[in-house]
Amino acid sequence: MAGAANPAEIKRIMEAALLTAQEPLPLSDLRKLFDEELGAEVLRRLLEELRLDWDGKGIELVNVASGWRFQAKPEMQKFLDRINPQKPPRYSRAVLETLTIIAYRQPVTRGDIEEIRGVSVSGTILKALESRRWIAPLGHRDVPGRPALYGTTVNFLNDLNLRSLAELPPLDELGTVIEQKGTIGLLPVADAPGEDGPE
């Protein structure tokens, strides 16, 4: 009864599922939609077709860490911002640096992070990243005090459009930054040019 023999119907159902899902859908979930046993190969091919069907639209089908999802293209943001004034906060440098150290050096303890940053890391920062579901305690280091070890989550990868940690921007080689980039001092604001623009 819930059969969906033809490819067009399969695509139609997957599309509806992906558009309504609250989280990215892995192939294993998509397969559950159908009575028939559909091979991963078939689904992957149909997903690729679906992706192409959306070509040219403001929404695109992407494959992130935990599965497939539809999302608006970044170029749409300037329009969507006009009716959606609610944006997540842009994090302070302290938060960003903490997140970066966790992402690249995980698993790390709070002490490890403080060691690298040279300053204490407030619990608020870790809590903010935890409640954003970007980091999570993974366990404890077996030293006195048994401090929590933090790592990044799948949700972090999803939110940054990444499939795995390997897709993070590669680290500059130690010592090359100062010589070549001259980024010493102050961290430039990403969208500084817009700063002076009219609101």
Partner: protein
Amino acid sequence: MMDGSSQQTEAAAIAKIYGEPVTELPADLYIPPDALEVFLETFQGPLDLLLYLIRKHNLDVLDIPMAELTRQYMAYIGMMRTNKLELAAEYLLMAAVLIDIKSRMLLPTPAIRDEEEADPRAELVRRLLEYEQMKAAAQQLDQLPQAERDFLLTRVWIEEATAERLPEISVEDLRDAWLMLMARSQANRRHQITRAQLSVREHMSRILRQLQGRAFIEFNDLFNPAAGAPELVVTFLALLELVREHQVEISQPCAFGIIYVRPVSTLSVI
């Protein structure tokens, strides 16, 4: 260094203070106190400040002239302290580290095999480089498109077939919501959200609740003497705030008599 001069010429504007580009700290390091505060907030800590000084004076991080760097650093710290700016303990600790390294370098060096190991600067250099690396990575990370900030996810309505379940929320959700509000208020700055006097507001609610459905309540009944002085003060402040906001009226029909607290809303209804 070969490219030393080219680095010199592109000596970048290091910052904009109140809209004005600043390309150089004055040689005598005088900075107006308010700008100093801004700088202090700009640096993430002593490592950040040291990296800034190294860049600023075009020092070679792999062969740091400790005397020069220490002098610069101490000048900064001294300035912060004379201006009574709150300085994190880490800055002072770093000062001690710098002086320690400097003094060790003044000692006559015995013949050593492994120069790398024996250089008292090695550990500091390692930390500076590692921090610098993470700092650059943080900047790159922030440039990645971020869900909700740079692109939105689709959210198509789907009828819940089964019995309605109520959403659960946690304290973290409230915390996030507040962050969002603050971020927004800073973005358009039309609304200044200041820290709430939570306990006062809480007592305001309690008093209003106590007054609900009643014509008045005796002043003394609003206070619980057993609760301790801070509680009494907060209750009193809440009462004053309610008066200020025209939520309640306080009256004392005769001198030294009973003080009555009335909800303004019931008054106007009657």
